[in-house]
């Protein structure tokens, strides 16, 4: 039997509820020029997720950086069917807020504990944007 899930409480960014496998990075993500939206992968030269696909993953990351094309890159990812399923992040910025809105995926921030400390890549995560909660089921 698996351990009881960990539940984090935060604030709604975009509503909706979904679940999926977590993809976690401690590095901020650049949109335009940092990801290839048609393939759904990170392309930034020095990024720890370089070459990794975020398609259908619950992306857990500190936040957005780089070009103002952040929303366009992830908006295109939505059209191309490569967008993440949900966003869980720490640092609110205009880039990530607009990107989350046009990606139309559940998104939460301002969690009561640091999701980067508690979620590992591969964990199963339930994101409830309306309630502002993240439920973590540890892998294995």
């Amino acid at each position: 039997m698996s351990a009881a899930p960990i539940v984090l409480h935060g604030r709604r960014v975009v509503g909706g509820r979904t679940e999926g496998e977590a993809l976690v990075t401690r590095q901020t993500i650049s949109g335009w020029g940092g990801v290839n939206p048609m393939q759904g992968v990170v392309i930034e030269t020095h990024h720890e997720l370089r070459g990794v696909s975020f398609k259908d993953k619950v992306l857990v990351f500190p936040g957005a950086k780089g070009s103002s094309g952040w929303s366009v890159a992830f908006h295109l990812a939505r059209l191309a069917g490569t967008a993440p399923k949900a966003l869980v992040f720490n640092e609110m910025t205009t880039k990530i807020a607009l990107g989350a809105v046009v990606m139309r995926v559940p998104a939460v921030t301002e969690l009561d504990r640091d999701p980067l400390d508690l979620i590992e890549t591969g964990d199963w995560v339930i994101v409830d944007g309306d309630a502002g909660t993240v439920e973590i089921h540890k892998r294995g």
Binding site: T45, G63, G66, G99, V101
Partner: protein, 428 residues
Amino acid sequence: MQLTDDERALLDGRDGKAKQKAMELLVRYAEALGAERFVATTNVAGVPGQGSVFLANYYKESGGGRDAIFSHFDLDSDELVEMPPVVTSSCHLQGGYDPENWQLLGATEQAAQVLKDTEKYAADRGVKILKTCTPYLVGNVPKMGEHCAWMESSAVIYCNSVLGARTNTEGRESTSAAMLTGKIPDFGFHQDHYRRGTHKIEVDVAVDSLMDWGMLGYFVGEVVGERIPVIDGRLGVPDLIRYKHFGAAAASSGGVEMYHIVGVTPEAPNESAAFGGNRPLETFRYGAAERKRVYETLNSNARDADVDYVMLGCPHAALEQIAEACTLLAGRKISPNCRLWIFTSRIVKQQADRAGYTEVIRAAGGHVMTDTCSAIGQALPPGTKVAALDSAKQVHYLPAIMGIQAWFGSTADCIDAALTARWNGRAP
């Protein structure tokens, strides 16, 4: 959030479907941010309605036309609406292809046509077609304190830091909606307290040349991330071009949207004003060792000294930079094994044409082009393997986007590479 009567009326459709959809998007965006109200914006810079073959095909069911792209992509509206004239001073930033050189840039006729159509669509609705990442070099100079809604990270950081106007890094969807409503969420850099310095940067190596300023900017972005650096120390007095390269670099390696230079930028008459009561969270020193490390980082992806492409003009070249390239070429021809492309705005290109610079560069075997750059347009000369660049921003992006090697150095190093097809750049 609190809406004024005017905002509520826009949301209720008083001024038509398009403005209603624009307001709906802005409300979703403001709620995501946690903003409590909007500010009135009088200066918007974006890429409204810009078409692409992908978008035209994607929205085929809605006719795939200009209104389909504007409705579904710009306003993120499921409903098709007709774009009305803009209500606030609005300009179109970089994007697409040079209308005179799209073939050289590798665009298809279809792509060039889509762009031409969507450009006219925006112009017909009152958008100024500046087609540059440097609107501030070609007449769009907001005044201190003015609430703006700009895209383009290198223009945003310039707007906040050098001009003292106020903008967040907006996106395509929020700027297009702001052009129709004159509203943008009251968040971040629109508010006094948000503009104060958070980190201190002590510079104790001389920073004078354009290359020096680019490297310092790259360092600053790396160490402060998205925060607000206050810079002091052995700095020469920056001109507009140095501010341009410094800010572009800081906004690429990190997410810097505003900086203060003590005694230089308008909101930093002294250090205490720059911090506005904040205690610096951390202090970073930039000395010879840090400069060396930045130089190595910027050159870490290049191995082959045979250079087949030199690109200048990131952010878009000022007229003085095109003149400098002409001086450095000194009447010589670039190597048959190398290409030289210089990117600028349409307005600066007109000046370069008049001054004879465009012809000097053409005679040497290079090209001056507008609207885009190799990273934005994903456009390289055929067969490019190794580029030489004088912009920390471009070297940050281009290898990742195009899968090539790229060297970083001074403008003189780059022109030398164009003439010899070899990289001879040296660490400062």
